[in-house]
């Protein structure tokens, strides 16, 4: 091999303040054709799904007259949010599952720990790079929502709700992957634990929700059963349980918040019986609860991960 000289990297004082690990992670994550290719594929798939939904919705609502456009717009909106949630729930943690365990497997973890970097700096560097890329993907698909707005049936507050859900989901599930990576012995174990927990949240909460609403609290607003339950005063606990379960999964939180907005035209407050009396109790909307819950859980998991890395014998 030909001898070569050391490349001179630009040295600026601003670099002193930037965490070098974060810089390296971002560089590795974003540099090269791999990141651009992945981004392009995801945008292409999301566009394709949106167009497919557009075509199907247009066919189904062809005889609805003036309301057809709104139906198609709503359908496209649901499809786009669904795609964003899939990216947030499944792609984001994939980027963090190997963050720490990968360092162990590369035999670089001890080298990093023997530097002046604190456990928090190591964790936040990893999270910044991974989450940054996930948020970039979400951001890149935002322009596609203009199609839904163009067709109508969607308001800005609904868009805000969808963004809140996607970002909160990406943050929590990324941190879950990072935390699992700190505790797991290998990246494979971290992946299994993380996706197991994600599926439990998405599917488990859905099954529990269906069981609860099917037996304890008929969810259909204004139904005789719902009214009876409310009148009997026995539904408060069931309502809390139902709302909690709805707020566990971004899918159910999104659907419930959308239906609530359609019925009450109120994005932040939620009612189980929108057609009932004024004294009907109002709850925070599921997406609000989910956002708060997810961010809180993410902070707790970050502390657990930092605690793990702080021990000098992980």
């Amino acid at each position: 091999m030909e001898p070569d000289s050391a490349p001179a990297l630009p040295a600026t004082s601003r670099r002193d303040r930037i965490n070098p690990l974060a810089l390296r992670e971002l560089d590795a994550r974003m540099r090269g054709g791999h990141a651009a290719g992945l981004l392009g594929v995801l945008i292409f798939v999301t566009s394709g799904v949106s167009l497919l939904v557009y075509a199907i919705a247009a066919l189904v609502s062809a005889n609805q007259g003036a309301g057809a456009s709104r139906t198609v717009g709503t359908g496209v909106f649901y499809a786009l949010v669904g795609m964003q949630l899939i990216v947030a729930a499944f792609a984001a943690p994939a980027l963090t599952c190997g963050a720490i365990s990968g360092e162990r497997e590369r035999r670089t973890f001890d080298l990093l720990r023997s530097t002046a970097l604190t456990p928090w700096q190591i964790l936040l560097s990893k999270l910044t790079a991974s989450l940054g890329f996930s948020l970039l993907i979400l951001l890149a698909t935002l322009p596609l929502f203009s199609l839904a707005f163009l067709l109508g049936g969607i308001e800005l507050s609904q868009m805000g709700m969808a963004v809140c859900l996607s970002v909160a989901t990406a943050i929590l599930f990324s941190v879950m992957g990072l935390c699992a990576s700190c505790y797991a012995g290998s990246t494979v174990s971290a992946v299994v634990v993380t996706y197991g927990a994600i599926l439990l949240i998405l599917i488990g909460s859905g099954i529990l929700l269906l069981a609860l609403t099917g037996f304890l609290l008929p969810l259909t607003a204004g139904t005789a059963a719902g009214g009876r339950a409310a009148a009997a005063g026995e539904s408060a606990l069931a309502q809390v349980a139902t709302l909690g379960l709805m707020s566990l999964s971004p899918i159910s939180a999104f659907v419930a918040s959308m239906l609530n907005f359609d019925n009450r035209n109120d994005m932040l407050r939620f009612s189980f019986n929108p057609g009932g009396p004024v004294s009907e109790p109002l709850w925070p909307a599921p997406f609000v609860i989910l956002t708060v819950l997810y961010l809180f859980a993410a902070i707790v998991l970050l502390f657990l991960a930092a605690r793990r890395l702080s021990r000098i014998d992980p």
């Binding site: 000289s5 670099r15 390296r24 001890d110």
Partner: protein
């Protein structure tokens, strides 16, 4: 001279396995101290505890007075740890590798480039700055690893089996580098399974076996204490009677015996080997050689047995059991 590294009744277990069992150990400032022992003797565990990467199970470990348990970050700032295996990132050149770790150690950005160049020169990789890590030879990687450990100018270097897995040329290069680091005044702790590797590198040796120290001291004194005589191997042409007679008449020779080696037998001239233990210094050894030559013994080689240090370790270990 003060102790750069000191442990008191240091213990560490992994499950039921005792890795370190009450180690009392110290290494003087600016000395090179070898930790020798077989696999599982606790060398790496001791090194990782001193690098504040592993918590002591009991007892205490201090580096320049700093407790590895109470102040791990401070300990890490004055130690440079080189693990046995080279940890590397993909898509990184040798220069970028050093610049990255210099940044992680808080070296100002304006100093990183010149520092990386100087370190690459020090480890004789000045011409390999732009070479991807994946394409470096094992010896080059080991030297780069040593350079990485120097990015924050540590007082103590902890080298885990730095000569293991290297070809002869790589060993020579790394040994030269370690000698240079000694001249720079660094305190160096080196682990090895092969005591002979550390000859000429370390002035102190500690022998470990199953997490316990079985012997420790200055290299020469330890060698002299554990084995007061030199195991010698003399190879010569012809019959062995004269050689045996000379050896038997020398007061410093013990246990002289001929070794039957079928590979040496065959057509004349007959090649013979004689093994003996010699209790004397180099002058007396030279006199013995002269006696052999004067007696007409056609000496082909007259050497201290290469396995003597390993044999010494085996004897010490067996005695400790």
């Amino acid at each position: 001279m003060t102790s750069a590294v000191e442990t008191r009744t240091l213990t560490r277990r992994f499950g039921k396995t005792v890795a370190l069992d009450g180690i009392d150990f110290s290494a003087r400032t600016s000395s090179a101290h070898g930790l020798v022992g077989p696999l599982g003797s606790g060398k790496t565990t001791l090194l990782r505890i001193l690098a504040a990467l592993l918590a002591p199970g009991g007892g205490e470990a201090r580096v320049h007075g700093l407790s590895v348990s109470a102040d791990p970050l401070a300990v890490r700032s004055i130690t440079g740890y080189v693990p046995a295996e080279f940890g590397q990132y993909s898509n990184m050149t040798a220069s970028e590798y050093l610049i990255f770790f210099a940044a992680c150690h808080g070296v100002p950005s304006s100093e990183r480039d010149p520092l990386a160049r100087d370190l690459l020169q020090l480890v004789d990789l000045g011409h390999r700055g732009g070479t991807p890590l994946e394409t470096l030879s094992p010896g080059m990687r080991r030297r780069l690893s040593l350079a990485r450990a120097l990015t924050h100018d540590p007082l103590v270097l902890l080298l885990d089996d730095p000569l293991g897995g290297l070809d002869p040329r790589g060993r020579v290069e790394v040994r030269e580098l370690i000698r240079e680091l000694r001249l720079m005044g660094k305190t160096i702790l080196i682990t090895s399974r092969n005591m002979g590797e550390l000859e000429g590198l370390c002035d102190h040796i500690t022998l470990l076996e199953r997490g316990r120290i079985v012997a420790t001291g200055e290299y020469a004194a330890l060698a002299s204490r554990l084995r007061p005589h030199r195991p010698m191997l003399i190879t010569f042409l012809g019959e062995s009677d004269a050689a045996l007679a000379v050896a038997g008449s020398n007061a410093g020779v013990f246990d002289a015996r001929l070794v039957a080696d079928p590979t040496l037998a065959g057509a004349p001239p007959l090649v013979s080997e004689m093994r003996l233990n010699f209790d004397g210094d180099y002058v007396e050894a030279s006199a013995l050689l002269n006696d052999l030559l004067r007696a007409g013994v056609q000496v082909v080689s007259f050497v201290e047995r290469a396995d003597s240090l390993e044999a010494m370790f085996e004897e010490v270990r067996d005695g400790a059991r």
